[in-house]
């Protein structure tokens, strides 16, 4: 409970700091809060599972894992993006919104009631609509915010209709009740339709095909730090919530849905990887790459016994790599440009940036012994023998994925050179380096 309280009050506190003109305290405060949340998680870990507050939330092991992963990602996001956020001049508003959305993200990990789920999604999303559009003078940012908002609220409506139907069938919003109901009775048409609609709502949030179209546009248009936030914490929270719901409460009905999810995974992998090969804008390419990872994340639902470990590990591995990539992306993007050729000769200008980017990209591509490989490994080994055909598709699309990641690496290490000058953000050295090492050797952490 204290965890949620901290996260909820964080935004308020940030706003208060603005009032008292204490902007420089914001980042430390946020960091301290994140640390406190992590500490709280650790304390909670020792306690037995407890359901709190009239079956609204449950701080079970899954939730705690989710919270800690999201908090780690958020903290990492904060330290890498702090300078960029500060540079906008609106750090208080932006940080407050981030804090609110973080609160929503945490709620996504521990709800046990559909009301909580709905509120969590909205608390997560509504600040994001604003954040995506937060570059107020920039038309692209506006466009991305608008698209995200409109499509997002449609998706919410669909999700809500699904919730309504499920409520109609089960007479409860409580996940335990629903779970019991579905264990015995899962062919009721309301449940079927309701589940599909909820699935669509979530598929939108994690940008699985064919509900992914917003993602590249929004990721590209939004300011890069926000894109980084969306691609990691938000996506992670959405898939954790989805996993909690589908692998937990709706477990009984999953057999009917496995086929659909497999098809969605296939479509996502093919479309995202294919489209990414065509991109010249690295940010947009990373967006498509993020979609393809959503395919992997979604496929954890197909693993018999629902490998939550695989999911968590993948989120962490992908999230860290992705944040590193977005950080470099932001540095290059703000100084030279977002296009591929902006990266030309980066290895000479800044070997550190290029190396970090390379490690991040290779990890996302799933090259051993980086964490990304182990993420993919757990998923594929879980699917092997049950969805062997899907693993083959995963493998083939991974090769395609390798292609566009390599393209960036080639440009960085290739011989051509653009004249633009580049100074790297020296303070990032130790942080990025440490995290990159974590990415390299994280594989024993979460097993």
């Amino acid at each position: 409970m204290i965890i949620l309280l901290i996260s909820a009050l964080l935004g308020v506190a940030l706003l208060a700091l603005e009032i008292f003109k204490l902007r420089s305290w914001m980042m430390p405060l946020m960091l301290i809060s994140f640390m406190a949340i992590l500490a709280g998680t650790a304390i909670q870990w020792g306690l037995a599972e407890n359901i709190m507050n009239q079956n609204m939330i449950s701080m079970d092991a899954f939730a705690l894992k989710g919270i800690s992963i999201l908090t780690i990602l958020a903290a990492f996001w904060l330290v890498t993006q702090h300078k960029n956020i500060q540079a906008t001049g609106n750090s208080s508003d932006l940080y407050a919104l981030i804090a609110f959305s973080f609160c929503g993200a945490l709620l996504m990990t521990n709800f046990t009631n559909l009301v909580m789920l709905f509120l969590a999604i909205e608390i997560l999303s509504i600040p994001l609509y604003v954040l995506a559009a937060s570059k107020r003078g920039d038309q692209l940012s506006n466009e991305s915010g608008f698209k995200y908002f409109l499509l997002g609220s449609v998706a919410s409506s669909i999700l809500l209709f699904g919730i309504a139907l499920i409520y109609g069938a089960t007479a409860s919003f409580d996940l335990y009740t629903i779970h019991h109901f579905m264990a015995t009775q899962n062919t009721h048409p309301w449940i079927m339709v309701g589940l599909v609609m909820m699935l669509v709502g979530f598929a939108f949030k994690i940008s699985a095909a064919p509900f992914h179209f917003w993602a590249p546009d929004v990721y590209q248009g939004a300011p890069t730090p926000i894109t980084g936030w969306m691609a990691t914490v938000v996506k992670g929270a959405a898939i954790i919530g989805m996993f909690r719901l589908f692998a937990g409460a709706f477990e009984g009905a999953m057999s009917t849905f496995a086929g659909i999810i497999a098809i969605m995974v296939t479509l996502t992998l093919i479309i995202a990887n294919g489209m990414a090969t065509l991109q010249h804008n690295v940010k947009r390419m990373l967006a498509f790459s993020g979609i393809s990872h959503a395919g992997f994340l979604l496929s954890t639902l197909l693993i018999p016994g629902f490998a939550s470990q695989a999911l968590m590990f993948y989120i962490l591995g992908y999230g860290i790599a992705s944040l590193i990539a977005f950080t470099i992306m932001q540095n290059v993007g703000s100084q030279i440009g977002e296009e591929l050729h902006a990266f030309e000769g980066l290895a000479k200008k800044s070997p550190f940036s290029a190396a970090m980017m390379t490690i991040a990209l290779l990890s996302m591509a799933g090259i051993p012994p980086l964490a990304g490989f182990f993420g993919k490994y757990y998923i594929i080994s879980g699917l092997m023998g049950h969805y062997t055909w899907l693993t083959i598709i995963m493998v083939l699309t991974s090769v395609v994925g390798m292609y566009y990641y390599l393209k960036v690496i080639f440009v960085m290490y290739g011989k051509s050179e653009n004249g633009a000058s580049y100074t790297e953000n020296g303070k990032l050295y130790p942080i990025l380096g440490a995290i990159a090492l974590l990415t390299l050797f994280a594989f024993s952490a979460f097993i």
């Binding site: 909820a8 009239q54 540079a87 508003d93 709620l107 600040p127």
Partner: protein, 170 residues
């Protein structure tokens, strides 16, 4: 019997004005039709013994949300701007898609007739005190979180609307 007629009448109004929202050329008309729909929906709530909800519905939707809409339309002076340029193929697709949607969802309506009022609960649901108890006891946490939501929305809306005092352009 009366309630039955009321149901059909309100339903008709809701659907009719719902369609009218879409087909009206002038956004102001759309807003007015939407308000009509909301009133019809509020009537339904009333029929279903959810009087408090009906009242809140009117206040929130008709009173706040739609006024906001109207205000924006007026401020942006959108009365007569829009000229429909949707290609007919998109219109056709819109009809087909929503039609299919209707058909598919209608398939979910059970054939067996389930009376809407199956159980008579001891205390009549929908009264203020029931809702109050539920909201402040069982649903206290979501209730508190709703305030976070509002706060977030408020900050966001203010942020987007305020002049760029210290934002470095570009």
């Amino acid at each position: 019997m009366l309630t039955e007629y009321a149901f059909w009448l309100l339903s008709f109004i809701a659907v009719f004005s719902g369609i009218a929202v879409i087909v009206s050329k002038n956004p102001v008309y759309s807003v007015l039709y939407l308000i009509m729909t909301f009133f019809a929906i509020a009537g339904h709530y009333f029929l279903m013994n959810a009087q408090f909800l009906a009242a809140v519905h009117i206040i929130v939707y008709a009173g706040a949300i739609m006024v906001l809409f109207l205000y924006v339309i007026m401020m942006l002076n959108l009365n007569s701007i829009e000229i429909e340029k949707r290609s007919s193929i998109v219109k056709l697709l819109a009809v087909v898609a929503s039609g299919l949607m209707l058909v598919v969802l209608a398939g979910a309506v059970p054939h067996a007739e389930v009376l809407i009022q199956q159980k008579e609960s001891a205390t009549p649901a929908g009264m203020v005190e029931d809702l109050g108890i539920a909201l402040y006891r069982n649903y206290l946490l979501p209730f508190e979180l709703a305030s976070i939501l509002f706060l977030a929305a408020m900050v966001g809306a203010v942020y987007l609307s305020k002049k760029n005092l210290n934002e470095t352009q570009n």
